[in-house]
């Protein structure tokens, strides 16, 4: 009896009534989500293009194009996009991931028309001048130096990912490799824009204290004129061959503490295993009472921090990470041994009910806290929409609730194996 009650209280269903879906004639999907808690709104254009879609030899082209989207379109020439948004009291930005690219503004609901005008123009009529192209390339190379070349803690992850995948495009960093960024041409970028920036390959999320009908009319008026895609872009068909044996990469750079990274290839949602691993990720590394933190940071005092991460909402299977900041170089081996022991322990002895309930509580809380802003909540919806539909959230939720200790154990047995593992170690030079 108590159990049933608990499950209904746990993880309340999202208020779906306030979310409405529309589709324009050219295939563009528009999702509106009304939330009147604050006098703010967000306008987001999501393109189904990221690192995973890039042609061989052109790593970083999606991200470079994202930069160039701020350099002017036919009706708004020049470097004016952000200037117009900011002069209207808005904040704008964009980001590229391995799976998608998002452009967003946060602004007063009365100003949404400005976003609609600007975004629709750059979806159809980006200028892409030679001069801007050369400038943005320089800026991206500075970004790369800042984020990777001069930041060994990021570089070790780039190396681990590149080692874990032999063939799948996830092996390439979103920002691109320097040598390839340098060789991207303006023509390449134009081609990439033509292929991926069109209505059926995008969707819009408008959310906040909005007048849904008014906003939709404006969106229809502006985005409705954008021509349909010539053909739907081909999706990735580079499959990753089965891994044969553990892989290992050692990077020696300036660092005070060694960083140890273990990465296992795992499936993506809606595969049930991916959510079992999501819960396992919390059991192993979610907080200071987690198994790994307890053993490594508290009992043995070998690490300053140890954490886990799993991106179950990838378009395709990616990696489950365990990473640790090891206090002393001489302890790296011992830390690795203990992490592997803990992973093997799950395989022989299922987690207990309380641990599982704790992990579910954590997933529930992060779900609720992600709704604290319309902006954050919209990003959450968009991540599911990229996988097919925001309605998959229900599936995600129900699957999480239904998982039991033996599910966790069998997923660990299936995926957390030496033949799925890549180990990376950052050591002081």
């Amino acid at each position: 009896m108590i159990k049933v009650l608990l499950l209904t209280l746990l993880f309340p269903a999202m208020v779906a009534a306030s979310i409405v879906e529309h589709r324009l004639d050219n295939g563009l999907k528009v999702i509106t989500y009304t939330d009147r808690a604050s006098p703010v709104s967000t306008f987001q254009v999501w393109y189904r293009v990221g690192g995973i879609d890039e042609p061989e030899g052109k790593s970083g082209i999606s991200h470079l194009l994202e930069h160039l989207m701020f350099r002017g379109s036919k009706n708004y020439p020049g470097n004016v996009f952000s200037k117009i948004i900011q002069a209207n009291g808005g904040v704008d930005n964009a980001f590229t991931t391995k799976d998608y690219t998002v452009y967003f503004q946060r602004l007063s609901p009365e100003k949404l028309e400005i976003s609609i005008n600007l975004e629709s123009d750059r979806m159809a009529n980006l200028l892409l001048s030679k001069e801007d192209f050369e400038l943005e390339k320089k800026i991206v190379l500075e970004e790369r130096r800042q984020r990777y070349e001069d930041d060994p803690e990021n570089l070790i992850f780039e190396e681990v990912i590149g080692t874990a995948f032999k063939n799948h495009p996830y092996r390439r960093p979103v920002i691109g490799w320097t040598e390839e960024i340098e060789r991207i041409t303006l023509e390449d970028v134009k081609e990439h824009y033509r292929r991926f920036y069109c209505p059926e390959n995008a969707f819009i999320i408008v959310a906040g204290d909005i007048d849904e009908r008014k906003v939709l009319d404006k969106v229809r008026d502006r985005f409705g004129k954008v021509p349909s895609c010539n053909s739907l872009p081909r999706r990735n068909n580079s499959l990753e061959p089965k891994q044969q044996g553990e892989r290992r990469v050692i990077l020696k750079r300036q660092t005070h503490m060694p960083v140890l990274v273990l990465a296992y290839k795992v499936p993506a949602f809606p595969d049930r295993d991916s959510l079992a691993i999501e819960l396992l990720s919390n059991i192993l590394g979610g907080g200071k009472s987690s198994r790994l933190y307890r053993r490594l940071a508290v009992d043995r005092d070998l690490v300053v921090d140890v954490a886990t991460s799993n991106s179950s909402l990838s378009r395709e299977g990616f990696l489950f990470f365990v990473y640790a900041y090891v206090k002393d170089v001489s302890k790296v081996e011992e830390v690795e041994r203990i992490i592997r022991e803990e992973i093997d322990r799950i395989k022989v002895e299922a987690p207990n009910e309380r641990e599982l309930e704790k992990a579910k509580n954590q997933v529930e809380a992060s779900f609720l806290f992600s709704q604290d802003s319309v902006f954050g909540h919209s990003l959450y919806l968009g991540r599911f929409e990229i996988l097919g539909s925001w309605r998959l959230i229900d599936n995600y939720r129900n699957t999480i609730l239904s998982l039991n200790p033996s599910d966790i154990q069998s997923s660990a047995k299936r995926y957390l194996t030496d033949d799925n593992l890549t180990v990376g170690i950052l050591l002081p030079r």
């Binding site: 604050s38 209207n88 300036q254 300053v304």
Partner: protein, 433 residues
Amino acid sequence: MIKIVAFAIIIFATITDLGAKTMEIESYTLENGARVKYLKRDNIPIVYLSVLVKASPLDQIKPAQAYMTAQMLTHGTERLSARQIEELIDFLAVGIEKKVTHDYTLITLSTTKRHLKEAINLFFEILRSPVFPEEEFKKELSKLEKSIRQMEEDPSYLAYRKFIQTLFGTQHPYGIPVEGLPERLNELSREDIVNFYRNHYRPDNMIFSFVGDLSKEELRGILERNLKDWAGKSKPREPKLPELPRREKSLEIKIKKEQLTQATILLGFEGISRGDSEFFSFSLMNYMLGGGGLTSRLARAIREEQGLAYSVYSTFTPYLLPGAFYIEVKTKAENFERVRSLIVEELRKFAERGVTEEELKDAKAFLTGSFPLRFDTMKKICEFLPLLDFYNLGDDYFKKYPDYINSVTVEQIKHVASKRLKYNNYVLITVGP
């Protein structure tokens, strides 16, 4: 049985405009001196509780004393061990974040409504009866030392630390980072933490704020059970303030790190306090100069027109006492001189010529228009409400903010720029190969 209004509270209900919406903030003062601010928001079943403690490097006798006191709150209480606290935090999936600035300590609880009661009990347990176990203290201190050593690998951190040391001097509370210096952490003892807690963590030194799915009756119950019987006076704040180091001309310091490909340039000088009458002119000036993302003058000159950097910005730290103003740019090492002269040139132009009406108009539109975005989550509101009292902004600050901004003139911008932008007397720190 819960007595509903068994304790004396003075209620000031304030209705504040924020764009089209109203924020019904309520403020109370309890008999023990604690201030309480409250805003109900029930669209999501979550609750935030923040407490601002007037305790910071301004009050400490040793570096990191305020920081370590806050960190140690969750490491053992009269009833619970550190391990039990960690287990509860994770099981209830609550967050207890501790943020220590140069002016105050802010501790924020976030919880789902479902776990509200247990979360509140835990929060007041760690706030009211921490015991600071010696062994836990030593472990945390060693972790902190390692963490700072790792942060030292970040050129921005190194540059910033050197900058404040140079600007304020190491005897000034603003002259060293809140987390202290690794080589001086061994000066700190458990005794220092216990004393710091005893002197400053007192209800009359605290401003609480509650935001979220919480009724007024529930709030009353919480205050009644957890706060009302807490007595004791805090020690008055009497920061020791040495004079700032004098500078006749610009000072340049280079920190060599051979493995880097970029030079991190941090150039700055003295800023203003939060209470300064020119605060709003200064904010607008900073926005136009370097605070306004890609549209600022510095970003235009260095990034957008020449592609010399990815990251370019200016910022300032308006504390209780005058803080700092600085610009940070990262550029390929060989471009260092070029970028430095572009920064100085932009500062000079701004100081000598000021800005156009058009530029100021856009800046005002941004700062007033984006103001509600700064409070678009319950968490942001919860962490801001105590500052209304702490910096004497008043509960009508949300309503008055647009007027404060809109009343600034181009003459005032010119005045503040020519007085404050020390383009020929700055501190410049470079970290690079």
